[in-house]
């Protein structure tokens, strides 16, 4: 059993460093919403790299992914599979969005869409879908952080208290420093996570089985089905290639249009930085490999955790590992949770105010009032998510999956906004709603699917059909000028 005093000391020390790093840049940004939401469009390559990388690696990386490898084996490889091309669409969409963003003052994806299609309601619908996605996601991050602290301190810090303290720190630096606070802490947290993941991923197989090679040789002899794609389902039956391949495809299509990631197109200081961030992104993906190794470690481990997600903390609690290593893991899991949670809370609040209040409802605010409103919304979003994290007893994962499916449906509209002047508002809005509903239907009722492929695939087909069928009229001058501006022309 690790010494809980040491574990707590390291965790608290880590939180203090994050708080200091997060509060420091608050002095540098301008007092407007442009300063708070997009850092005055000034972010360089290092901050952009870590902000996108660390945002994507959430509590899922330290808890969910090892859990997948532990129960579903090679099914977990799909995360690497979509990492190959996941950010490539952004290489083309990002610079176009950045150009119109700079010219027309956008800070969120939905307000760009509402402007292009001259339909404020579109911003409202996108804001709503984004919020439905962000709140359970944020709640899961909070729950993850709280759970890790509870397990690693053997119950001394209950989940509700752990989540409260960790997200109290996040709230403080998001409120004070906005996107720059998120950027600086994510840089530190990203580096810390990378080091820790590789350290633990190589150390644990060595400690338990004499190395990575001997571990996989034993797995090959005892559980060979775990080493071949597409791996297993959560229930332990073989997963299908249709599900695996379409999950990779849908994740690639949807990845770039996640609102909190897409918004980062508006934060980069120039197009060159944005493109370089995309090129470098796969290097961040490699850090998932050691976390999968930890999951595979668990397969041969002498005892099983209460749930697959707890395999990593379970191994640490039941092996002869120095308390300091356990403490560092705890800090790493908090880093993963916080580095996604902060970006989510910041993006969700910006979306509520900019897309919901200002764009969809047409209530103009002064820059200072807007910044105040966004800060207030940060508190609201985090309080709501905390309430869901500690109070909601239903399945957050189902809620999250439904919302994920809907967010993927943003993709055709965003591509049309930036590339296709003929695409109509009616087509994009109908496509978004019909595609989301179709996805929701098949997420809830998977048996109704004609073929066993990812529910989002059907939604995308419906979405694209709606756009094509309802975009017959010639493009308006405004639409042509918008697309031309996005492409770099003066329009």
């Amino acid at each position: 059993m690790p010494d809980r005093g040491v574990v707590l000391m390291i965790s608290v020390g880590y939180l203090v460093v994050c708080l200091a790093l997060g509060l420091w840049p608050g002095k540098k940004a301008s007092a407007s919403s442009q300063g708070y939401v997009v850092g005055d469009r000034s972010l360089g390559l290092v901050l952009m790299y870590f902000i996108t990388g660390a945002t994507v690696f959430s509590a899922f990386a330290f808890l969910g992914l090892p859990g997948w490898a532990y129960t579903r084996g090679a099914a977990a490889f799909y995360v690497l599979g979509y990492g190959t091309l996941g950010f490539v669409p952004f290489y083309f969409l990002g610079p176009r969005a950045a150009r119109v963003g700079r010219k027309l003052g956008f800070v969120t994806q939905a307000e760009m869409m509402a402007h292009r299609f001259e339909r404020p309601a579109l911003a409202g619908v996108m804001a709503l879908v984004s919020l439905v996605a962000f709140i359970p996601y944020l709640a899961l991050q909070m729950k993850g952080a709280g759970l890790v602290l509870e397990i690693m301190t053997a119950g001394a810090v209950p989940t509700w208290l752990g989540a409260l303290v960790v997200y109290g720190v996040v709230l403080a630096y998001v409120l004070k420093s906005g996107v720059l606070g998120v950027g600086w802490t994510n840089t530190f947290q990203g580096l810390f996570m990378m080091l820790l993941a590789w350290g633990l991923g190589l150390y644990l197989p060595h400690l338990l089985y004499g190395g990575v090679g001997p571990m996989f040789e034993r797995l090959e002899a005892l559980r060979p089905e775990l080493l071949l794609a597409p791996g297993l389902t959560g229930a332990g039956t073989p997963w299908s290639w249709g599900e695996y391949g379409s999950a990779v495809l849908i994740s690639i299509v949807g990845f770039s249009v996640w609102p909190h990631l897409f918004m980062k197109a508006f934060t980069a200081k120039d197009v060159r930085t944005l493109k370089r961030t995309v090129v470098l992104y796969p290097t961040f993906q490699i850090f998932l490999v050691p976390l999968m190794l930890i999951g595979f470690c668990g397969v041969l481990f002498e005892s099983a955790p209460a749930s697959p997600d707890q395999i990593l903390p379970h191994i640490l609690m039941h092996s002869a590992i120095p308390s300091a290593v356990v403490g560092l893991f705890c800090a790493g899991a908090l880093a993963a949770s916080m580095s996604s949670g902060d970006a989510m809370a910041h993006a969700a609040a910006s979306i509520v105010v900019r897309d919901g209040w200002v764009t969809a409802l047409g209530r103009a605010l002064s820059p200072l009032a807007e910044r105040r409103a966004i800060r207030f919304a940060v508190i609201l979003v985090m309080a709501l998510s905390y309430g869901v994290a500690v109070g909601y007893q239903g399945s957050l994962v189902v809620l999250l999956l439904s919302a994920y499916g809907a967010v993927v449906q943003f993709a055709p509209g965003v591509v049309c906004a930036l590339y296709v002047p003929r695409a109509s508002a009616r087509g994009v809005l109908t496509g978004l709603v019909a595609g989301s509903l179709c996805t929701l239907l098949f997420v809830m009722q998977p048996d109704l699917r004609p073929w066993s492929i990812h529910a989002g695939t059907y939604g995308l087909v419906v979405n694209l059909l709606c756009i094509m069928l309802l975009s017959g009229a010639p493009a308006s001058t405004a639409a042509r000028r918008f697309v031309s501006r996005a492409a770099g022309g003066e329009g």
């Binding site: 490889f77 379409s246 470098l280």
Partner: protein
Amino acid sequence: MASLPSLPHHRPGMRHAALFVFCLVCLIAVAAPEYAGLGNRVRPMWLGLPFSLIWNVLWVGLSFFGLGLYHLTDRQEG
């Protein structure tokens, strides 16, 4: 890019087509059944890892180099 004289940066159409084909190959390699009949094997193990995992890591690496090359020959603001 003076250091890369042989790359087709003067012919954007060709660069786009090359990237498209490259992405398609990547997609087939990581998402098609049995990883297109090539990568879904346990052996040979490299660095102690099963080949199926190495296969995915390899394509993550290749996509980095592929897009990197495209970016190096990108003359538009980049």
